[in-house]
């Protein structure tokens, strides 16, 4: 059995083992996008390069057989730099957005394109679930939100943005109209208690997600009724109180206790709360000038300093969000803060370090020209202009109108955003897409099979699907077309994608290291892309 040394650690391997597999045996992670067990090495991504026996040039570890006495270097800075460059080169010729511009812009990072797809297919309950994963009060926001997401909608380059906010509103309204509104499941009781101060949008959202995580939540508020600024500052004609009450009702049904007419500072102190509860969320809104000290807070002005990514304050276990920490008053921002703080608190309560939301977007398309837009407009996308509700803008869409409007979405999002090797490694190697600017491939319109999506613009020509379709005995399969930079993967004789993948679709989707071949419904494949580095200490919590 040959013995090889990788980064100073030795391992005995079966004859014929590649350096990549030897490294895995040692638990050393070598990135690769084009390797698949039991398939010939493609040696196309070149991310797995290592240095063998001090040689000046590097070698792809997926194809090089380990030999007795070989000394391999992998985790060294110059090799990491080469790998980063490999990812940067691939990203420079990868057209598409990891996440859609609207999704990226939404302060709450709601997965808007998914919601629109669900609405367009009449799946209102699923759409609501998608919304409520990130937005605790959609019926409210559907009426008060300034529609930040719509400002970056790519459809604007064609005619007008998709009416996202109003679609979201009808989804939430329909849920209540159904008589059986959606109440999310609660995790088993954690045995932890969390105090939420302030029942405005931030506090309500925090309570909504904290309760789902199984914590006992008590909301304190100085006023008679919950809702904060939503109830006391927004006019009734803009936000009917019934809508607000209905959404607060869902939070009550999650088991959250409301203690009204209880003012921080006079009725109870922060010290009391920190003594009685395991964690505290402060969502009081902007402080009155000079009042901070009275409340037991160390705030220089009317706002409390906090880590704006995790919303932790200087005091352990005390989180804050909404207008208390941010200058810009925006209900959706406050609702997003409530969600972030809730996730942070849950991590804190489990003894983990709170993390900000990660919205890494390795690949972005940026501004596009009219020609590209015309290409994106093909297929199922409706070419009708933005709809206005028949009964007047203040009345909102009917479910039918919402469905028609949602068909205007260009679906800029990547269906493989949660199972993309290119995205994962680009993030971990800090590879920048803009590193190499230059000629890009021409965008080829997305092809939809019955359940498949083929986006050649995202293909990194790894070659795995060509091998899989060949081995799988496809009559047509996929093949390399052309050569060099312009080389593309496609079905022979310009046949549609479905003709090429008659029996190997699942295998190709699973192997595709990007979103070039994906299932049209991203929910079909929710597990993360298998980076095919079986490294035990790689923890996804």
């Amino acid at each position: 059995m040959p013995r090889v040394t990788i980064d100073g650690r030795s391992v005995d391997v079966e004859p014929g083992t590649t350096i990549l597999d030897a490294a895995r045996k040692l638990g050393i992670e070598i990135p690769t996008l084009c390797h698949l067990a039991d398939h010939d090495p493609e040696t196309s991504c070149m991310a797995c390069v290592v240095r063998v026996n001090g040689s000046a040039s590097l070698t792809p570890s997926c194809a090089r057989i380990a030999e007795e006495g070989m000394a391999v270097e992998s985790e060294v800075e110059d090799i990491r730099a080469i790998r980063r460059m490999a990812f940067e080169l691939l990203l420079s010729d990868h057209i598409g957005d990891c996440i859609a511009p609207c999704h990226h812009t939404c302060p709450a990072h709601m997965e808007i394109p998914l919601m629109l797809r669900q609405v367009s297919e009449g799946q209102m309950r699923e759409a609501l679930r998608t919304i409520k994963k990130d937005i605790a009060l959609p019926a409210v926001l559907g009426r008060v939100c300034p529609e930040v997401c719509e400002r970056t909608c790519r459809r604007t380059f064609y005619d007008h943005p998709a009416s996202i906010c109003m679609v979201k509103r009808i989804v939430a309204d329909e849920d209540f109209a159904s008589g059986d509104p959606y109440v999310p499941e609660r995790a088993p009781a954690s045995g932890k208690r969390v105090a939420v101060v302030g029942s405005g949008p931030a506090g309500l959202a925090a309570a909504y997600y904290l309760a789902q995580d199984g914590h006992e939540v008590v909301i304190y508020d100085a006023r008679d009724e919950p809702g904060g600024a939503l109830r006391y500052n927004v006019p009734e004609e803009k936000l009917p109180r019934g809508v607000l009450n209905a959404e607060i009702g869902i939070i009550r049904r999650l088991g959250v206790t409301f203690r009204m007419n209880t003012r921080l500072g006079s009725d109870l102190t922060l010290a009391d709360l920190r003594g009685d509860f395991d964690a505290v969320f402060l969502g009081t809104g902007e402080l009155e000038p000079g009042k901070a000290y009275e409340l037991g807070l160390h705030a220089p002005g009317t706002r409390l300093p906090a880590n704006l990514s995790t919303l932790e304050t200087a005091a352990p276990g005390v989180f804050a969000g909404g207008d208390l920490v941010r200058r810009r008053r925006l209900a959706v921002r406050s609702i997003a803060d409530g969600k972030i703080a809730a996730h942070g608190i849950s991590r804190y309560l489990r003894g983990l370090k709170p993390e900000g939301e990660s919205h890494g977007c390795a690949s972005r398309m940026g501004q596009v020209d009219r020609e590209t837009i015309d290409l994106l407009m093909t297929g199922k996308v409706s070419s009708e202009d933005r709809h206005v509700p028949q009964t007047g803008p203040s009345e909102g869409f009917t479910p039918t109108e919402a469905r028609v409007e949602s068909m205007r979405c260009l679906h800029c999002d990547c269906r493989a955003k949660d199972n993309c090797g290119l995205r994962d490694f680009s993030e971990s190697y800090e590879a920048a897409q803009g590193r190499f600017k230059g000629s890009r491939r021409v965008l080829v319109p997305l092809q939809e099979g019955s359940r498949l999506i083929f986006e050649p613009g995202k293909c990194i020509a790894c070659g795995l699907c060509v091998q899989i379709t060949c081995k799988g005995g496809e009559p047509l399969g996929l093949t390399f077309i052309g050569r060099g930079f312009d080389m593309r993967i496609g079905v022979p004789f310009d046949r549609p994608i479905a003709d090429g993948l008659t029996v190997t679709a699942d295998a190709c989707v699973n192997a595709c290291p990007t979103g070039a071949i994906a299932f049209a419904d991203s929910e079909l494949l929710r597990q993360p892309w298998e980076p095919r580095v079986a490294v035990e200490d790689r923890v996804h919590d």
């Binding site: 040696t43 390069v49 490999a86 390399f480």
Partner: protein, 791 residues
């Protein structure tokens, strides 16, 4: 096998379908295996002049080749066209020599006069199809264009409409090329030798040959008209050499068919009495009218330029240059051919032969310079009953055509080298892989193999005692010069290199140990067999023994092929053999090694040439293309030229090759068009160095060399471009043309301007509308008083 059922074909075809009957014939003749895929496609294209889709679908139905395999191969190789081809095929050479002589402007002129929309290659009438070719190998005719079978040299953009007109006129008149006569005079006392290699043919040598034969026959001259191989003096082709017993040889250069009779009759007395009278009359008339013609072209072999060109050379691979009939086996044998091999096979063991080759210090002439003996040893030692030897004739460097010349002029020599290697390593089968752009080389090797088979030197089948050889034509892919790509191509696959190890010496063609040697290497093997290893090691340098053939082109007075001992300096080649840089310009650099090589600056011209010294200077030996550059050449443009080539020829497999080389080119394009940014030079350096270590194959690893070497030696030129200036005045976007006060108003510039941007103004100083000017340089070239200036 898993041959697919016939493909579902759309029931209602819109266009009339091609007649598919020939497909069955082709497949029946060539076979149904995947290995035959490229020959099948070549046969289909020969028939239809492109690859009709329905024909390809038919191939899948008739053979074991799957649609995926077929499409991947049919779209990989540049030879294959997928749209119908015009009646006439125009191939504009974009070799290095043509590039520095303005090939870009020639292509643009054709596009303009054929009214080709961007991305289209065939004109609206379907009369002309325009293509770019990497190199026609007519470097001394630069810029050159091949239209159908004819080559037009030294073209200018202004001449393009006349060339097109000529082709149209010829078509109307229905002119045909008559069959070339092939009979030689018998009982000759002397020889009229005429080189019939591709360079000479491109300049009309076949017509000269025909008229020489005609004269010899008509006047019954006491001379044999003998076709011979290349003399190397391509810049003076066609060449005639007069050989008379006991008299000095005389060389005539730049001969036209109408000169042939006068030259032949000047040196040989007609044997028939009445013809003698006629010829005397002709000669008298000639003398009266223009006796300067032959004299103008005569280059006595002792003349200084010829002596300098030929005298310093040392002919090993090209031994008996210009003396032998390439296809005369008896003549080859009379000069010792095949005898040394025969002796070796009788008196020595294969191991001894390998030891001899190893001792000679011969290194692969294809570029990398690996020890030939060691390579043979590895294949001999590799386990396996079946082994193969391959002659790599896929010479693709733009500006390099030495392998083509050797194959065309000395086919038996290369066959002997390959036969020796087959015997040494224990192979029974040999393959000549020759690029399809070299039809004459393919034909000569095929004919030479047939003659060797007739003589029993080669076998006809694998069961014969002698090895059997065959020719496989490449299909237009520079990357197939890389041995693993070449083998993939032989298997009927895309020519993609793979990771080595395993080397072909262990696992090559059909998974068997395979020896791949370059053409020139094999030609040298024959010489070593005959003269012994020691005579070889005496030549050259200690690290690089023997000689090397270079294709000398660019800014030199005498271009062509030269074979020189290793260790000679660049200066000696450029100044002595090449006659120096013409027009009083200064030598700036020599580009060596083509797209994998680099530019050696004039300051390093005294570098003795061997493998290692060239690497130290930032270039590589490569296959031996040598392009001389003068002060008018822009080094950034040269780097861009080679990067464009690398991009065109990249296989597309690995990320660094496919995207890296494009990103390097992107930056160069920016710099050449005045869009460069401050960080660009560092970016190129970083990316180039990464490609050198991380590309999968040798071609990718060396692709950045033209950039890195020019960055190293000519960084100030790059910086000037970043500042918006092209010091050599080549980069169109950074220059403008102006007409100075010295203009005499002759209107020539206005007449030649293809963009109509110079208003005709007789006897006045002309002006150029810079907005319309395409920077084609036509005006500057025609101006009789050098009034056109580039700023």
């Amino acid at each position: 096998m898993n041959a697919p059922a016939s493909l579902p074909i759309d029931p209602a075809p819109a266009a009339p379908r091609a007649d598919l009957a020939p497909i069955e014939t082709i497949v029946g003749k060539l076979g149904r295996t995947r290995e035959q895929l490229i020959p099948i496609l070549q046969a289909i294209q020969a028939h239809y002049r492109y690859l009709p889709k329905e024909a390809l679908e038919r191939v899948c139905a008739l053979t074991e080749i799957t649609p995926a395999q077929l499409v991947s191969v049919a779209t990989f190789y540049k030879q294959f066209r997928h749209t119908p081809c015009g009646k006439h095929l125009i191939r504009v050479c974009h070799g290095t020599a043509c590039h520095v002589s303005g090939a870009g402007a020639i292509s643009e002129a054709f596009e303009k006069h054929l009214h080709l929309p961007p991305g289209q290659s065939t004109d609206a009438e379907g009369a002309f199809t325009l293509e770019k070719v990497a190199c026609l190998g007519c470097c001394s005719l630069a810029p050159a264009v091949q239209i159908d079978d004819g080559v037009y040299g030294n073209l200018t953009p202004g001449a393009v409409p006349y060339v097109l007109e000529e082709v149209r006129r010829a078509e109307k008149q229905g002119s045909t090329n008559g069959d070339r006569p092939s009979r030689n005079g018998d009982g000759a006392f002397g020889e009229i030798r005429i080189a019939l290699d591709s360079c000479c043919l491109a300049r009309g040598a076949d017509k000269v040959f025909a008229s020489l034969q005609h004269v010899a026959e008509r006047f019954r001259l006491p001379a044999r008209v003998k076709p011979v191989g290349c003399t190397g003096l391509s810049c003076h082709a066609p060449l005639i050499e007069i050989v008379r017993p006991g008299l000095p040889r005389i060389l005539y250069a730049d001969i036209k068919p109408e000169d042939a009779e006068a030259i032949a009759l000047r040196h040989f007395e007609p044997r028939s009495w009445c013809n003698r009278l006629r010829s005397a009359a002709t000669r008298a008339l000639d003398a009266l009218v223009d006796d300067t013609l032959p004299a103008r072209n005569a280059l006595p072999a002792e003349a200084a330029p010829v002596r300098e060109f030929l005298g310093r050379q040392l002919r090993l691979a090209t031994e008996h240059s210009g003396e032998m009939n390439p296809l005369d086996l008896a003549e080859y044998q009379a000069r010792g051919g095949f005898q040394a091999l025969e002796r070796a096979m009788k008196e020595r063991t294969p191991d001894e032969l390998i030891a001899e080759i190893t001792k000679s210090g011969l290194r692969g002439r294809g570029g990398a310079g690996y020890s030939t003996g060691t390579k043979w040893r590895q294949v001999r030692d590799a386990s396996g009953l079946t082994k193969y030897v391959i002659c790599n004739g896929d010479e693709g460097d733009p500006g390099a055509f030495m392998d083509r010349m050797i194959l065309e002029s000395y086919p038996f020599r290369v066959i002997e080298g390959l036969a020796a290697s087959a015997w040494a390593v224990g192979a029974r089968e040999g393959i000549f892989y020759i690029r399809e752009e070299y039809p004459l080389a393919v034909q000569r090797i095929e004919q030479a193999i047939a003659r060797c088979e007739d003589a029993g030197i080669l076998g006809r089948t694998e069961s014969d005692s002698a090895p059997c050889f065959r020719v496989v034509r490449g299909a237009g892919a520079f990357v197939c010069g890389e041995e693993t790509a070449l083998i993939a191509s032989l298997k009927g696959e895309r020519g993609r290199p793979r990771l080595r190890p395993p080397y072909p010496s262990e696992c090559g063609f059909r998974g068997c140990p395979t020896l791949v040697n370059n053409v020139e290497t094999l030609a040298l093997v024959s010489w070593i067999l005959r003269n012994g290893a020691e005579s070889f090691t005496k030549l050259g340098t200690p690290r690089s023994a023997g000689t090397k053939v270079f294709a000398l082109a660019g800014k030199v007075r005498r271009s062509g092929l030269v074979e020189v001992p290793m260790g000679i300096t660049l200066r000696e080649i450029v100044e002595k053999l090449g006659g120096g840089v013409p027009n009083g310009k200064r030598l700036k650099a020599v580009q060596i090694g083509g797209p994998s090589g680099g530019c050696v600056p004039a300051s390093l011209a005294d570098t003795p040439i061997d493998y290692e010294a060239l690497v130290d200077a930032g270039a590589i030996m490569g296959s031996g293309g040598m392009v001389v550059l003068d002060e008018d050449d822009c080094m950034v443009d040269i780097a861009r030229y080679f990067l464009r080539f690398a991009n065109d020829e990249c296989c597309g497999r690995c990320s660094f090759g496919r995207i890296g080389s494009r990103r390097l080119l992107d930056i160069l394009e920016r710099i050449c068009t005045g869009q460069g940014r401050p960080g660009d030079l560092d970016d190129m350096q970083r990316l180039g160095r990464a490609m050198k270590v991380a590309c999968l194959c040798g071609l990718g690893k060396t692709a950045p060399n033209p950039v890195l070497s020019t960055l190293r030696h000519f960084r100030e030129e790059y910086e000037a471009h970043l500042a918006g200036r092209c010091p050599a005045g080549r980069c169109k976007e950074l220059i403008r043309y102006e007409i100075g006060e010295s203009c005499i108003g002759c209107t020539l510039c206005a007449q030649h301007c293809p963009a109509d941007c110079i208003p005709m103004a007789p006897y006045q100083v002309h002006t150029i509308d810079s907005a319309k000017c395409t920077r084609c340089d036509a005006c500057r070239q025609v101006c009789p008083v050098d009034a056109v200036k580039v700023r």
